[in-house]
Symmetry: C3
Subunit: 255 residues, 3 copies
């Protein structure tokens, strides 16, 4: 028996919005300690990893480890039917082929019960090696989203360069070129820890799908090291995170 | 000579919005007592009936009974050109082939006069038999609209079940199933009068078009009896109503 | 060397929005006194003329006359990436093939530098003859935009008639007809100077593209004389204007 209750549906909506673009279907691994998800995106280029501790929930019970295969687009449709301030309870029996979602409104005597078919999905467990990153940048999540969107106008590739002076995003295309520079600010909006400067090139459209997680967090953490995948991390309050990994482009970035 | 003046165009906009999706063209029957409309929807499945008493108007004159055949989509285009707080005067001579609409703004010396071609439409007068309904439910119109929209995500059919405990809406499709239950609330948002419990199945897309009338009324009244059409009624302030009728699906509802 | 700095990008956005629909590409003529643009629209029917004096800019330097051929759609994409309250500096070296745009945000240590390719465009200099207009109307720019949009619903042609009583806009099509009359108001929203009444017919879709300039000015000035092009003028604060010219339709207007 698995049962988890959140006092507000809003958080669940944000998490599913952050995942559904990059994964159409995926498996939630539920255990006593919380819920985990790890998967390659639909085109097998980037990787997403989510962790949500059990203390995020008002009520949490997981008698035995359970893998719930979900169609995230169907789940999105169900969540669209709920108000952000509804309480939501997610339930599944141990060998069930269905996930139950119950929404209760505080203000009205209204309950809405949904049953979603569970899917049998192949699951490859991917080991993510621990990495010592040469550069770690914290910046406002909305600013990162805006830069990724703006640079996509110019080119498919985005170059990210990190030095002690700050972080620079560049793109170069038919129409012209763009450089956006952020420096560490006194008010602490942007912070940069650099052991060694790094310049890497990435496919902009993956960065753009990562920014679907923007509503989850005020800040995003960007970690880079030469020749290893970029890590873009959005904390989920104090209860976990969504992490996106994207390998750099092999061709030399034009910095 | 027919002439009717409303101090605000907003009400007229809401009425036409409630009709234009279900009827592309229709005939308004004007008499000394007010304006009536009754017609099958474009696909001849549901029926709509509107009544607006003459005292709804600031000024009302109808010398002899008049049938005005209108293209509701053209009328919508004209109404889009008016502000909700313009005063509007509708006029037609006795054997005219045109309807005149004049809009006056309070704040500026602006008048806008429109002439719409009238249409000769075949008109069948449909008798709606008086029915004693086994269940009558009053509920917030926005809640009804939201439920109809949400259930359409799951299935073409919507099952409505009414008992002394409340009203339940259900749908069951490929993706999964949903049950939404509303109970009578102490604050009177939802009230249920039940002589005999009724469960009927309906085509959700018609219910959805009925909810175009939502801006007209705070509450909607839903009346059901076995084997007779559902009645969904939106009052137009104290001056009349829009009523929609929809026959239940003949196949057994899966309750 | 050309360099011009505006303390807010908002004005530049409005100017480019007013031009980009009517001109996909165009040449800015920069001189010591300011920036000028004059061109036929993409379909060579209407003419647009812009003038912006150098004192509009916080900083302005133009060592020698310079013609900057720009793709206005690319420029629009760049401006979309900037906030309205960013400061913007536009630069170009004397024989450069690039235009540099630099945006600085006040609130954050953020700079965004763009380079746009310059184009070699054929430029015909069109003499606009001085005209004594028989009618000059000042009216709210939003009202003019609304009327042009509303009348397009009815017909491709818009008849504008100006008399001492006011200005009247008419359209007549399949669906019906419309007349919108504005009179001079005591509060001065609408003012009409008439030496001789004028009635002319115009292609509505050009009028509609002119109204892209609406956010620039509270008032628009409309000048007419028999058999000469209509002039629609939007002042750019106290620093210049955008003027649109449109020849009347040759067929007799049905007034």
């Amino acid at each position: 028996m698995f049962e988890a209750r959140l006092s507000s549906t809003a958080l669940l909506k944000k998490i599913v919005d952050a995942l559904k673009e990059i994964l159409h279907q995926s498996t939630l691994d539920c255990s006593d300690s919380g819920i985990q998800l790890q998967a390659m995106d639909n085109s097998h280029v980037s990787l997403v990893s989510m962790s949500l501790r059990s203390d995020c929930f008002e009520k949490y019970r997981c008698d035995r480890n359970l893998s719930l295969g979900l169609d995230l687009r169907s789940l999105t449709k169900v969540l669209k039917c709920a108000s952000g301030d509804d309480a939501v309870t997610i339930k599944s029996a141990d060998k069930a082929d269905k996930l139950q979602l119950s929404f209760e409104s505080a203000s009205m005597d209204r309950t809405a019960d949904y049953e979603l078919r569970l899917l049998n999905l192949d699951q490859e467990h991917l080991a993510i090696p621990e990495t010592d990153y040469a550069c770690v940048v914290h910046m406002p999540a909305t600013e990162f989203a805006r830069i990724c969107r703006d640079l996509s106008t110019f080119s498919e590739s985005v170059v990210i360069a990190c030095t002690k002076d700050g972080i620079k995003f560049s793109a170069n295309g038919e129409m012209g070129s763009v450089n956006i520079k952020l420096s560490e600010t006194s008010k602490g909006d942007v912070s940069v820890q650099v052991e060694e400067p790094v310049t890497l090139s990435f496919a902009g459209r993956y960065l753009n799908t990562f920014t679907r997680a923007t509503p989850l967090s005020e800040k995003v953490k960007i970690s880079m090291a030469p020749e290893v995948p970029l890590l873009v991390e959005y904390p989920i309050e104090d209860y976990g995170y969504i992490r996106y990994y994207l390998a750099p482009k092999v061709d030399e970035p034009d910095s």
